[in-house]
């Protein structure tokens, strides 16, 4: 049949014309009758792309499982060689990595919780309260986004060093106890709280804390949850700052510990690689579990803003 295809069949790599992939809508335009050839074409393309995207991770797993010397002798093939199944266990229980994971965990939790608290408070003030210099202060808060740790590194290392906080949890966490991004995002969420609700709470005699805890935060929960996830990610994944304030070999957070890999003994290379995969795990799990909340939280913020 050479007649022209229906509109949905025409949708190639350009011009999405079908319903949102996220939530199937009532109008599933003709999906039930996509011709098999077109269908396989799409699936093929998508699968190829998926393989390309996953390839680096696949190779990493291959390297983690393979005995290093045997692997390089076999000229680095695409499949595992002389598999050591216990490599992940060995990596996880190795002194270095387990300590590093613990340090990272503590650091991440402290930073995440702290950023949550400071951001909610600051966002509350900007969203619901009137006070002098409000606009200026907001500007100053937002301006800090232009001063990332990459720029302020040298003086901050100096400060931490002077405080005697090198190789300490304080040194790792204190500079990051607050972030303007959190203030911004959560403020957006708070701004979406209907004014009527605020008036009603006022008439009911709610104080700030009560209103914040019982009304504002629950209503802004999607954004707050999304921010928490982002905060967690950023803290766990940090590299530059932890490396800068960690000077002892036995005091390394997980990401920094990975930098030992290039100079590690070839014979234990696979353990190091396995360690890297383990380090990536917490974030992966958090993202998978909170996928929906994350998307909802961020898009809700965008729509209301």
């Amino acid at each position: 049949m050479t007649s022209d295809a229906r509109v949905v069949d025409d949708a190639p790599a350009a011009g999405p014309t079908v319903a949102l992939g996220a939530a199937p809508e009532k109008r599933i335009a003709g999906s039930s009758r996509l011709r098999p050839l077109r269908l396989t074409g799409w699936y093929t393309l998508l699968t190829v792309l998926a393989i390309i995207v996953l390839f680096p991770v696949y190779i990493t797993v291959v390297r983690a499982l393979s005995t290093p010397v045997a692997y390089s002798d076999a000229r680095s093939p695409l499949y595992p060689v002389a598999i050591q199944w216990d490599v992940f266990w060995r990596a996880a229980t190795s002194q270095g990595l387990s300590r590093a994971l613990l340090l990272s965990a503590i650091m991440t939790i402290v930073i995440t919780v702290a950023q949550l608290v400071t951001s909610v408070l600051a966002a509350y003030a900007f969203a619901f309260l009137e006070f002098p210099f409000k606009k200026t202060l907001f500007g100053l808060f937002m301006a800090t986004l232009m001063l990332p740790i990459e720029v302020t590194l040298i003086p901050n290392v100096q400060t931490i060093s002077d405080l005697g906080w090198l190789n300490s949890m304080q040194g790792l966490t204190v500079p990051f106890l607050a972030t303007a991004l959190g203030t911004f995002l959560i403020r957006q969420g708070f701004v979406g709280v209907p004014a009527d609700l605020r008036d009603a709470a006022r008439l009911d005699g709610y104080g700030h804390l009560r209103f914040m805890w019982h009304v504002a935060v629950p209503l802004a929960r999607p954004v707050i949850a999304a921010f928490t996830v982002l905060s967690f990610l950023a803290a766990w994944n940090q590299y530059l700052w932890p490396q800068s304030v960690e000077t002892l070999d036995n005091w390394q957070t997980a990401q920094v510990a990975l930098s030992n890999l290039p100079t590690a003994e070839p014979a234990t290379y696979n353990v190091g690689v396995a360690g890297a995969l383990i380090v990536a795990l917490p974030v992966l799990i958090v993202l998978l579990v909170f996928q929906r909340q994350l998307v909802r939280g961020l898009t809700a913020g965008a729509v209301k803003g």
């Binding site: 229906r6 949905v8 109008r27």
Partner: protein, 397 residues
């Protein structure tokens, strides 16, 4: 210009059937309204004409051409979407022009369709802009227009394509009441001037009644009735159509034909639409405990039923009047108690409690209004009684 024919057209999404076995012939030049509640399949049917949904079974033709597999771009239709679907990043002039830039058109006197020249495009755009009063807004973007203006831009965009069929998907639903009334008249006027077939989807029966040459009523994917406004109003084909068309809706009662076959006894808890139960005993006694009253059947209606049959009786609010005590058929009336009186200036709508449910009676405002709580007798106007088969919900006669 062409008509549209649905020949046993069905649309299924997996297990769900949106349109079931639709047979409908839309004549060339008609203003046909697809009317029904949400989810009845009317929008799906419209989108099938456009080619935005494909057809599971059956044949759809535009004019003489079977278009089941024809690309929407080549069907020579134009659509006005419910949300108007204007390109927000382009100004009004560009929006109106957009069907003309790529598609090919059959120009008068030529055999083959071709792309239009700039002059031809401009001419059509000017014509449409003039027709809809959009000249002052041509340079504006949709974001800077009011709802009514946006709607007219959407209309203009459809007009310039000079299609064989106009498709409109609830175009008035986003307008406020006053604008809606005004635009209704404008659309009818447009149809008269341009003469193209219009297929129009709405859930608002007032729009249907005032604009359509014919109305096709759908429910649950099935065509219930197609006919002129008079036809669907005066002779509804089933209970659904009877209840859907007309405001306030037709009053319906469960009833049983009397022993002499010339009356129907109205049961308690009567309103059939609310699931009233049939009578246990059909004795034609004015026993208030069992019945709500009786209505006389004219000869034509009486011929359709047999004594003892269960029927559903429908009477429109304007076909009931408060019977005075000395009315000739005073024995054959429905008794009830006035629940509420709404005086609307030109008429009054009286809510009457009859046998457990509330029905509506319309009467002219210059007639005396009853008091709330008064006991009244209601009698039908001649020919105002409709009968329906309780098993099939279909009209008898």
């Amino acid at each position: 210009m062409a008509g549209v024919t649905f020949d046993a057209v069905t649309k299924r999404y997996g297990d769900v059937t949106a349109v079931a076995d639709l047979d409908l012939t839309i004549a060339d030049g008609e203003f046909l309204v697809l009317l029904g509640p949400s989810g009845c399949g009317k929008t799906t049917a419209l989108r099938m004409i456009a080619g935005l949904e494909d057809i599971t079974d059956g044949r759809l033709s535009i004019g003489d051409r079977v278009v089941n597999d024809v690309d929407p771009r080549k069907r020579d239709v134009a659509m006005v979407f419910q949300s108007y679907a204007l390109y927000p990043h382009q100004n009004v002039a560009k929006n109106i022009a957009s069907p003309l830039t790529v598609r090919e058109y059959r120009v008068d006197g030529e055999n083959e369709p071709r792309k239009l020249t700039k002059a031809e495009r401009d001419e059509r755009i000017d014509e449409a802009a003039r027709m809809l009063g959009l000249e002052p807004y041509l340079k504006r973007k949709p974001g800077a227009l009011s709802g009514g203006q946006r709607q007219r831009v959407a209309l203009a965009r459809a007009i310039v394509a000079r299609p064989q069929v106009f498709l409109m998907d609830e175009p008035l639903s986003n307008l406020d009441a006053k604008l809606r009334t005004q635009t209704r008249a404008e659309l009818v006027d447009l149809h008269r001037r341009v003469g193209t077939t219009i297929v129009y989807v709405t859930h608002d029966q007032v729009e249907a009644m005032t604009m359509a040459t014919r109305i096709a009523v759908l429910d649950n994917g099935r065509l219930q009735q197609v006919g002129t406004a008079e036809e669907v109003y005066d002779t509804p084909a089933n209970l659904f159509v009877a209840g859907f068309i007309g405001t306030p809706p037709m009053n319906t009662f469960t009833a049983r034909v009397s022993e002499d076959g010339r009356r129907v006894i109205i049961g308690r808890g009567g309103n059939a639409a609310l699931g009233g139960a049939p009578l246990a005993d059909a004795a034609p006694s004015p026993d208030a405990a069992l019945t709500a009253g009786r209505l006389v059947l004219d000869d034509a209606k009486a011929a359709l039923v047999r004594p003892g049959n269960d029927v559903i009786v429908g009477v429109r609010p304007e076909h009931l009047h408060l019977a005075a005590g000395d009315d000739e058929h005073s024995g054959d009336a429905i008794s009830g108690r006035v629940h509420n009186v709404e005086w609307l200036g030109h008429e009054a709508v009286i809510a009457v409690d009859v046998a457990g449910s509330t029905i509506a009676v319309r009467q002219r405002a210059d007639r005396e209004l009853p008091d709330v709580g008064a006991d009244v007798s209601l009698a039908p106007a001649p020919g105002g009684v409709h009968l329906f088969d309780p098993a099939t919900s279909e009209r008898l006669g």
